[in-house]
């Protein structure tokens, strides 16, 4: 039963979601509403599950003095520092001027933005070391990157301001984005969509069972 019930739930819910798209009337419309609401509830629980799981793993790491256990302390302290003011702040805990809001604006935001910003440094360093015109494909990529990187910023048009309209770098970047790039994206999207349809059908019909664990 541990496998049959989840398989049954997956099959029924999946089939209803497919049917309600083509027949948006009772009973499928009602079932769609139920299942969507259930999904939101399960997703909300999943956030809690994720947070508690993180705490459990971090505590186990500290207790077992496993590798990098010091970072686990940082995780737990950070978690408590943000959760306690959140729960202790009452209904308006996120309003401007609250401690939670201050933490969000002046600690969480700069820290997470910094992590993302570090990418710029790595991209520059990697481009210097590895982005070479070794063959035709790499050269095409290099030339396209050159046009798009310069064409997407105002300095591109400054450099090609003497060219007639339609031939400036921003125009060339626009052409790359609208035609070769969009064509490639569309091909990838269609491929992914076909793969999704096939995988979804396998899951709904119970052929693919890896989401249940094992096998």
């Amino acid at each position: 039963m541990r496998r049959e019930i989840p398989l049954l739930i997956t099959g029924i819910v999946g089939a209803v979601f497919v049917l309600q798209y083509f027949i948006p009337h009772w009973p499928f419309s009602k079932m769609n509403a139920w299942f969507s609401d259930w999904f939101s509830i399960v997703a909300a629980f999943a956030i809690w599950l994720g947070a508690l799981n993180l705490m459990k793993i971090s505590l186990q790491k500290i207790a077992g003095r496993k590798e990098d256990w010091g970072y686990a302390i940082v995780i737990i302290v950070s978690f408590l520092v943000i959760v306690i003011p959140g729960f202790g702040g009452g209904q308006g805990y996120r309003e401007a001027g609250t401690f939670f809001s201050w933490l969000y604006e002046w600690v969480y935001t700069p820290l997470s933005s910094t992590m993302f910003a570090i990418l710029a440094f790595f991209v520059a360093s990697a481009s210097y070391r590895a982005f070479r015109a070794r063959n035709l494909e790499a050269t095409l990529l290099l030339v396209a990157a050159f046009f798009v990187m310069l064409g997407r910023v105002p300095v591109g048009d400054l450099l090609t301001g003497f060219m007639p309209t339609g031939w400036q770098l921003s125009d060339l970047a626009g052409w790359v984005m609208n035609f070769p790039q969009a064509a490639g994206q569309r091909a990838i999207m269609i491929g992914i969509a076909l793969g999704l349809v096939s995988t979804s059908l396998r899951i709904i019909l119970g052929i693919e069972r890896s989401h249940l664990g094992g096998e």
Partner: protein
């Protein structure tokens, strides 16, 4: 001293300087610093000469240390903040399309804005959010905010604070719940969008501050997407613009514009070309173009100089690397610099 000690010293120095600048700004004893155009040009020439030195060194077969590259990128991002150079920004068709769609809306139209991003993407998306909300409130459009990412509504709140500081908007005295509303976050990704197509209240029974949906005059009569005149999705990934197009646009006919990070924007062009997206702001450049159209200079325009410089630096390093690659007969491996 070991490399590790040097790195720790640099981090400590950056922290000390940042703290001094922060305290100086708060205390008012540090004002705005700005280079004159002449100093700005001298700085640019110095950077250019340094790049020429790196090119010569690389052509001799030795790559410069990665930390030198990091330093150049850092300077390219930071120095433009102090430069008094203006750039001519050209409006792209997708930004113009979004602006035209908004311009066509009569006052009182309801605009749904979904904040589907978190702070890591804020440097790119927050300028868009601020200028978009500013434009809506200035044009008497009614703004309904939601978030499919947990941090989205808080980002919206920060953007609203900036938009509400605008003197023209202050003169209109917009009221929360009447002119704009923040319905908060709902878990469930595209299922939330799907349910909103039938009944928005079922997904957002209470707003961000705990008020009941039916007690908010702005949304009291908004049942589903058919009551929304235009929607705008600020997206940094999943769930985002792609899910809004697939569910809200295709199934319920919602008119949607997108505001995406520069990384995500290329994926939206097929939707844009097919007419499923009505306008697109891509990256900080999109924000700067939108600011230019709305006539209010904001963070997008201000940060574009940094972006221009950063792009130039990356391209310069690509050219240097390739020059050395070809100079070495396309086979000789370059040595790591010290």
């Amino acid at each position: 001293m070991s490399t590790r000690t040097w790195e720790l010293l640099v981090v400590a120095a950056v922290l000390i300087v940042s703290t001094i600048v922060y305290l100086g700004k708060v205390g008012g004893w540090i004002g705005g610093v700005s280079f004159s155009p002449a100093v700005s040009i001298i700085v640019i020439i110095l950077i250019f000469l340094s790049l020429v030195w790196i090119l010569v060194r690389t052509l001799r077969g030795s790559l410069v240390d990665r930390r030198i590259v990091f330093l150049f990128v850092g300077l390219a991002v930071v120095l433009p903040f102090f430069m008094s150079i203006t750039q001519k920004i050209k409006i792209s068709p997708e930004v113009q399309q979004l602006y035209d769609a908004l311009e066509a809306l009569p006052p009182g139209s309801k605009v749904l804005v979904s904040f589907d991003y978190d702070p890591p993407s804020a440097p790119e998306l927050q300028p868009m959010a601020e200028s978009f909300l500013r434009y809506c409130l200035r044009s008497d459009l009614k703004v309904i905010i939601i978030g499919l990412w947990p941090q989205g509504p808080q980002q919206a709140d920060l953007a609203l604070q900036i938009a509400l500081e605008d003197p023209e908007i202050q003169s209109k005295s917009p009221q929360y719940g009447v002119d704009y509303v923040n319905l908060g976050f709902q878990a469930g990704n595209e299922f939330v969008i799907q349910r909103m197509g039938a009944n928005i209240e079922s997904m957002f029974p209470r707003d961000y501050f705990g008020a009941a949906y039916r007690d908010l005059p702005l949304v009291r009569n908004v049942k589903n997407f058919s009551n929304i005149d235009y929607s705008f999705n600020l997206s940094a990934g999943y769930p985002g613009t792609q899910e809004w197009v697939q569910v809200a646009v295709d199934r319920y006919g919602l008119r949607l514009g997108g505001g995406n990070t520069a990384v995500q924007a290329p994926m939206m062009y097929p939707y844009l070309n097919a007419g499923q997206l009505v306008g697109l702001l891509g990256g900080m450049n999109g924000a700067a173009e939108f600011e230019l159209l709305t006539g209010v200079t904001g963070k997008g325009t201000k940060f574009m100089l940094s972006q221009s410089f950063a792009h130039m630096i990356v391209i310069a390093f690509v050219i240097i690397g390739n020059a050395a690659f070809f100079a070495s007969g396309r086979r000789k491996p370059l040595e790591q610099g010290k």
